[in-house]
Symmetry: D3
Subunit: 171 residues, 6 copies
């Protein structure tokens, strides 16, 4: 039995994350999904709360083929402690998946195997692009980037209204 | 659809928690289980990490009849912020279950319905009693208090050895 | 012009505090009143929020003869920084009033003059006694210890109900 | 009786703030003035301590027509907790005044009415402009932006010297 | 070359610590001495600042036979992160010396060798005993417990006066 | 006997720091060297842990003519408390050396004498330049900027590999 760890901010959860998780599902038996910067919300860079992001991931993985655990991870603002923080908050795991340079470096120094994930088209599969689209969208262009389950959560919390106002773009 | 919130320290998860969760399962459709004081571990009062406690709960609820979410909750050390902290970290919920006076008071002031859980025999169903037994056990007397799935997790991390040493009881 | 500094937890504001402030008013021109442990509330030791305590003090000092400033002070949990914290959060002051050994020592080491306040009968003029009475009161015995303005604030927030429940004394 | 809440960083208190407070005074009976980012000082963006800012506000509102309370508010760095933090530290209020998108969004989500304040000429009534002028002023050009009571406080703490040095502009 | 790590609160540094360090000096080539709970001071349990404790240790080890490093260590209040905290703040070390159950357990779980130190008479070689004596001493009985270099530091900061006042024992 | 205080981030320790320390050694009898932002590491701006930086400084000052103390200093994120933090963590000192505007301002306001250090060629003697060179170096061009003792520490922890990866420059 191999259990993987995969961390993201999921602001919001989009098709890029889904693709990576599908790849992970082919290679391991279980995956722990860490919701990074869990304490952050209500900014244009981090619009959604951890609870909202948990709902996005959960609903999008209804039919996910392998067992998965979702855990919010607050920042520690002290990089040298981050791996211990993750290990303390998470069920044990055997391998980590990431393309984030800091995450790769920290896990590697701690002797934990890290596997790179295939890079997908950044213009389509990027949180930055999705959030920019949310702020600027007249209709529901942003909904193209995310599973319909995620769009539901966002609508449910009036998320587009929130991010537009935070961007000073509400009129 | 009614979703409940139930928080405990689960140091360790024992039959008392299981009984309460079974009651909750009869009354609601889904339950969010908060792992309280998630940042605490390695003391006689809080021997296990949040990750270890998540494993205990997960494995013990394999056949649990309703959908459940498990989220670690770090302390905020500022009671007036606790309800907002919980709401920010958790999927939305409709009702909370608790017998803890502080939890009851805080949720009540925030306008959230709280249901008391039936009180079970404290000598058998109490974390304090289980931990005391762990420290003093010669054989595996403590294992009587917890599901076998929990005993497995504890054995896996040499938990009895850990709590005995922390209590200055290792020789 | 002499401005004094006086800090208390004011859980709740009672006649003992009032007596001390009256003494201070005779000796100086203005007083800064620090609400200590401002982030604490909802425990039997610290039942009221800083906001509630500010209301108690404000209303009780309606006719106070000298100008007064009320500032909430969060704990710093690092004694050597406490005087700098106070000085940073408060309008400048010339002298401090206290009977608290730690406060006296810290101000003294920082070169700030500290004046002791006359000690009043501890059984009547003590926060501990007032809170104990609140928890145990059948009628409104606790109201004897505090100005009627304070009793009003406490009633307004259902404070007796709160402290009784926190003490596990609500039935 | 209507009590309002108004928060600003007041780095420093200037005529723009005064205008807004005068408007508030026409609409409500009392106002709580929150000193935001209270723990910050000694940077070009936040040159003054909370204590210094309290003095600025107090002195400028000597003849203010309605009752006002001034409370320093330390940052919580966790937006979802901010409203609870404010409510815990402040006397109760009925309505908030703000033009800050984050403040508006957070209060609105918490069900608290927010009123926009009239926008005044940003080039004259802006903290950024005042601080830039302080750093660059040869004579006392900056004093045009603030009430004379504020200029007094700034002079009293050698504030121009401080901000110039912090900007690397002292020679 | 073997470098050891040894941590203590050193409130104050006394002959018990000196004995342990002499033993360590016989077994290794260098030693890192961690000043635990560095942020604590001005209480009867932790009377001295980290800076004062550094001076005590430094002066007492003037002629110490092996190279030694002294580093203050602030608490992290999150046991699972403590070893990473120590490793991040300290030059690399090969072995730890301790009799503290928590320290032993944490280093052991992290795969770091821990050596127990010989236990000395607790009534003579205990910080608790020294501090109790300081509070109660009429003459200089406490000075028997500590190197003269430590007594000098304590006198220099009026340490006995400080601890007596903090204990409410100053008259 | 005059003891100085000198603080830097030492990311990494380079010839510029060595020059300044040599100047200090000519003017005072002892020096406390504070390792600033001690909790930061594993970023391109702060690549090395406090422990690694302590090793760099220690080894580079093997033959330093005056007695020196090295203490890691975690950030307090509250400028008005910084001087008290430093004084609490450090052996007493008489004078501070710095060219940092914030450090100069804070010590000056606290009544501590600050001496400017001679400015050396910024292109050669700057941490920013050294780190940029580390990220871009094909061979060991960065090693020109630092004492060979520092290069050894960096090699020992695979520091160049670390900073290159953190910069997204590893291929």
């Amino acid at each position: 039995m191999i259990r993987a760890f995969y961390v993201g901010r999921f602001q919001p959860f989009h098709y890029g994350h889904e693709k990576i998780l599908n790849t992970i599902a082919e290679e391991v038996d279980e995956v722990v999904i860490g919701i990074g910067s869990a304490q952050k919300s209500h900014s244009t860079h981090d619009p959604f709360t951890a609870g909202e992001r948990i709902e996005m991931v959960l609903k999008s993985l209804e039919n996910f083929p392998i067992r998965h655990y979702i855990i919010p991870l607050q920042d520690v603002e002290y990089n040298a402690l981050w791996v211990s923080h993750v290990k303390s908050m998470s069920p044990k795991f055997d391998v980590a998946y990431s393309n984030n340079p800091l995450v790769i470096q920290l896990f590697t120094e701690a002797g934990i195997e890290v596997r790179r994930t295939a890079m997908h088209e950044r213009s389509i599969y990027s949180g930055t692009a999705v959030r920019k689209c949310m702020v600027e969208s007249k209709n529901r262009e942003w909904a193209e980037f995310v599973p319909s389950t995620v769009a539901e959560v966002i609508d449910d919390v009036s998320g587009i209204c929130r991010i537009k106002r935070l961007a000073g773009n509400d009129d």
